[in-house]
């Protein structure tokens, strides 16, 4: 399984990263320097990836100790994904350049595109859990930077993106810890996590990480904000392409890494997947616009990918990953294009939109149907059927939008789900506001606790000591008779001590 030792995998990461650094230090006067840099970096990565066709390469170095090795592997299984990442980055960059939608002045944006590609490539190739985590989580900074380039009000969204990633990625760290401890190894293609309680938790929590990265529910809320506030190329690149690639890539490793997991853990993952599909389907029905439909469809396909997580491996998943990434990227870019020029609708953009919508729906159906075909238990069957229903909703959503566009009126969903739909439309099933409120409440409680402790020191102890010292002061009021009394009392005490000892 191990391949030839080569530095090429490392270069696949370094080339975009170095170009990214170059773009950052580029003086602002160089026009389009960022765009050129992105092209150069992505092309360089693509060339390097292509040169590894048909080979199995490996780059491993001792790194942070204690099993945390810097280990990258490039083989026919993940090479297509790596190539897809580079290609999609080029596509996004090209679109950005052609449509004029890219933030021309933002070196940070362009550099972040390259950093994101570098990190995504690293995550795809990593063969050590901590190395993978390193690249996976390292996308926070570029994501933040890219959303920020969207303007003055974009900070709320960039913060939300980081918080969302914070929740899922930090839980994943816990999961990685459980898994690697149970398996006594951190090497992805060599480890086998036993189906113990700890191993199952590892499975579940790592799945949570993947769910978060893919943008499945409940980690999808920020997508809506980002589609408004972030520059359009961001959507196409990150949630549309890179996130889907690396999320799916991780999920595809699960059957190899985990020697089964408790049925409870598996069930929860299935619920997450199926729930995402059906809720996303409902969201797509009331989308009412290209961007929102794009998000809903992407979330739906993310859910479908999660559904497949526990059993599909290798080639099939890689194929699904590439299709979904291409579909996602295309959905976001075309949706943004379509919503931008509301008048003269570009036929190319519409075509691209509906084709990718179709692909996304296809992926969704595939996931649901596959799960049905697997038929592990009646519970999984029910969930898969639910997912199927969700896929159908998604279709309805797409057709609804087509009809709306044609008839010029607001799309009416084919299925009326009453209150549930209304609730969903209102909240989008986004736990973010509730989570914020919860943490705010917790903050108040903590401040109260801390203030109470401070009160103890500042007021309580001070008062007590002052009280005691006040007693002493009162006893020394200068009256001689009192002093003589003290002496008598003292004499009594000393006599008592003598008598008793």
């Amino acid at each position: 399984m191990s391949g030839m030792s080569s530095a090429l995998p490392l270069w696949l990461v370094l080339i975009p990263a170095l170009f990214g650094a170059l773009v950052l230090i580029l003086p602002g006067k160089v026009k389009n320097g960022g765009l050129v840099g992105v092209f150069a970096g992505a092309l360089g990565a693509l060339a390097a990836a292509l040169s590894a066709l048909g080979q199995s390469l490996e780059f491993t170095r001792a790194w942070a100790g204690w099993g945390m090795d810097f280990s990258l592997k490039l083989n026919p299984e993940n090479l297509p994904l790596v190539i897809a990442a580079a290609v999609l980055t080029l596509v996004v960059a090209a679109w950005a350049g052609l449509s004029g939608a890219y933030p021309a002045k933002s070196k940070v944006f362009m550099a972040s595109m390259l950093f994101a590609l570098a990190m995504a490539s690293g995550a795809l190739m990593a063969n050590n859990l901590v190395a993978m985590l390193f690249f996976w989580q390292a996308m926070w900074a570029p994501v933040f930077g890219m959303i920020q380039a969207g303007g003055e009000n974009a900070w709320k969204t960039s913060v939300k993106a980081v918080f969302t990633a914070g929740a899922s990625d930090l839980l994943m760290i816990l999961g990685i810890g459980f898994a690697s401890f149970s398996a006594e190894s951190m090497t992805i293609d060599a480890m086998r996590v036993p189906a113990t309680a700890l191993g199952s938790w590892g499975f579940l929590l790592m799945a949570v990480g993947a769910i978060g990265k893919l943008g499945a529910i409940p980690f999808h809320g920020w997508l809506y904000d980002a589609s408004e506030d972030a520059p359009a190329p961001f959507m196409g690149l990150i949630p549309g392409a890179l996130n889907l690639l690396i999320g799916t890539n991780l999920l595809s490793k699960f059957p190899g890494m985990f020697d089964g997991a408790s049925s409870g853990a598996m069930l929860l993952v299935l619920i997450a997947g199926a729930g995402t599909v059906v809720l996303a389907g409902m969201l797509s029905m009331s989308a009412g616009g290209f961007k929102k439909l794009a998000i809903a469809l992407n979330v739906a396909q993310a859910g479908a990918l999660v559904l497949g997580a526990t059993s599909v491996a290798g080639g099939a998943f890689a194929f699904a990953a590439i299709v979904s990434a291409a579909a996602g990227c295309c959905l976001y870019l075309s949706a943004s294009q379509l919503e931008k020029d509301a008048a003269g609708k570009s036929t190319l953009a519409s075509f691209a939109f509906y084709v990718s919508a179709g692909a996304a729906v296809a992926v969704t159906f595939t996931g649901a149907l596959y799960r049905i075909a697997l038929y592990e238990s009646w519970l999984s069957l029910i969930l898969s059927v639910v997912a199927l229903i969700g896929a159908i909703f998604a279709v309805s959503g797409v057709t609804g939008l087509i009809r709306a566009g044609r008839d010029g009126e607001k799309s009416v969903p084919s299925f009326d789900l009453g209150r549930a739909q209304a609730w969903l439309d209102r909240t989008r099933c986004d736990p973010y506001p509730a989570a914020r409120a919860a943490f705010k409440g917790y903050a108040k409680v903590s401040l109260t606790v801390n203030d109470a402790i401070s009160w103890f020191y500042d007021v309580g102890v001070v008062w007590f000591v002052g009280f005691l010292s006040g007693l002493v002061k009162k006893a020394h009021n200068g009256s001689q008779s009192r002093y003589v009394l003290w002496v008598l009392a003292g004499a009594v005490i000393v006599i008592a001590i003598f008598a008793l000892s």
Partner: protein, 478 residues
């Protein structure tokens, strides 16, 4: 130069040199500043040169036995040199920052005296071989802390300085009782002679009072948030980088490296640390004073360090030591950035800030980078330390404690992002116009931000160092 001479120089150059600073300062401020830098640079340089020997089997050491269980000596093993190097290095950066920050304030002689004295005491704490002398240097650091917190002499500031002195001093007295308990149990207080000895739980508890008070752990942490009234570089030195690390270092020195303590503490201390980490993280989410936020963050992060050092197992221990390094760099950076903002705006209230990224881009970027390191985001150094501590806890057999700390890590992201966006992003509520930091102040924070990222990208080097230290410790513990 012989080993003992080197050791004496490392400790006494800053201690004695500090005493000359007020006198020289009367003649020339520039010479005094330069000397302050030199007096800290010398130990740092010497320590670097000592590192290879420290990691070998025969570190530089000397020990003169005295009556009543006392002894005077220094022992520069890997752990000691590691801690001393971090402290002196950050001391250097902070001294340089001070040149810009203190510009026109009064009492500068006193400031430099106490800062250099403090660093000398820190060298003493790390290298000493005897519990009593540990106490001696510990209290010298408390004295410096007192004078530096109350530096601006407002009534409220002096009250807070007194509070810090009393809490840490009281804790230290209880700790001294613990030391004496050890003396009466084993007949000596010499750390080299006491290696491998067992001590009672009562002694451990008493000593923990000192450790927890110095390292600001709930419920003895109340003084740290209040101490933000010190001049910013002093705050960074004392409350981020060095003073609060005294407690965790002494924990490692005593309870990991020297004594055998009951396994009960492998759970009890992490639990205390967890409560402290969570409660202070919550407070940091709610606070509106930038320095208090960062101070509560320090209390919280110290919890992580305690987790690593106390839960048992080499991986966690390595994580704890790595955390000391990464946290010192990034947290100092955060405080110094906060200082630049405060220096420019004359306020610490984040509700009166906002949008500062436009006028202070370098400070904003530095704050961002340091914050991400504290949050534990790759590719910054903090990622590795946080990861190692959490995974180390799992490996030590405490997955649930690890889970609690992950919750703490999530909250770290919350409060630091909140601080960042309230200060630097969004709409501006600023009353004065703000300007970017000047001169040495700005260079210092940029350097620390750069170190945060470089330490992560080149993690191999700090990790190898920590590995070597842990191996050395493991040999001795066994």
């Amino acid at each position: 130069m012989t080993g003992p001479t080197l050791l004496l120089l490392v400790v006494f150059v800053p201690l004695v040199g500090a005493c000359t600073l007020p006198l020289i300062g009367k003649i020339s401020a520039k010479v005094r500043n330069a000397l302050a830098f030199v007096f800290v640079a010398i130990p740092f340089g010497l320590l670097i040169s000592m590192l290879p020997v420290a990691l070998s089997g025969a570190p530089y050491s000397f020990d003169i036995l005295l009556p009543l269980g006392m002894s005077f000596g220094f022992h520069a093993d890997g752990l000691a040199v590691f801690m001393a190097m971090i402290s002196s290095f950050l001391g250097l950066i902070i001294v340089v920052y001070s040149f810009g920050y203190l510009g026109h304030y009064d009492n500068q002689n006193e400031y430099y005296f106490y800062v250099v004295l403090f660093l000398g005491a820190m060298m003493g704490i790390t290298l000493t071989t005897n519990l009593i002398f540990l106490y001696v240097f510990w209290e010298i650091s408390a004295l410096a802390c007192w004078r530096l917190i109350g530096f601006f002499r407002e009534k409220e500031y002096v009250r807070r300085a007194n509070k810090a002195f009393l809490i840490t001093g009281g804790g230290a007295l209880v700790m001294l009782a613990g030391f004496l308990m050890i003396y009466f149990q084993h007949g000596t207080m010499d750390l080299l002679l006491l290696r491998g000895k067992e001590i009672s739980n009562t002694a451990v508890l008493l000593i923990l009072f000192g450790i927890l008070s110095k390292s600001a752990t709930l419920p003895l942490h109340s003084w740290l948030a209040d101490a933000g009234v010190a001049p910013t570089p002093a705050t960074a030195l004392l409350h981020a980088a060095v003073l609060v690390k005294i407690g965790v270092y002494v924990y490692a020195r005593l309870f990991v490296m020297t004594f055998h303590i009951d396994a009960f503490w492998n759970t009890a201390v992490p639990v205390i640390a967890a409560v402290s980490a969570l409660a202070s993280a919550g407070a940091a989410i709610g606070e509106n004073d930038i320095k208090r936020i960062v101070a509560y963050s320090t209390v919280s992060q110290i919890g992580f360090i305690f987790l690593g050092l106390s839960i048992g197992g080499e991986a966690a221990l390595a994580g704890g030591l790595m955390y000391i390094l990464m946290h010192a760099i990034s947290k100092a950076g955060l405080f110094l950035c906060a200082g630049i903002v405060e220096h420019s705006l004359h306020t610490k209230d984040i509700r009166k800030m906002g949008g500062l990224i436009k006028t202070m881009p370098w400070t904003a970027a530095s704050f961002f980078l340091c914050a991400f390191s504290v949050m534990g985001v790759p590719p910054f150094g903090g990622f590795f330390s946080k990861d190692m501590v959490i995974h180390g806890a799992i490996e030590a057999g405490h997955p649930w404690i690890a889970a609690v700390f992950v919750l703490g890590a999530v909250m770290t992201v919350l409060y630091l992002m909140r601080a960042f966006y309230r200060v630097f992003l969004g709409a501006s509520h600023v009353e004065h116009p703000a300007h970017e930091g000047r001169g040495t102040m700005e260079y210092s924070v940029v350097l620390l931000a750069a170190l945060s990222i470089v330490s992560g990208l080149f993690i191999y080097y700090p990790a190898s160092l920590v590995q070597a230290i842990v191996s050395q410790m493991a040999v001795i513990i066994k």
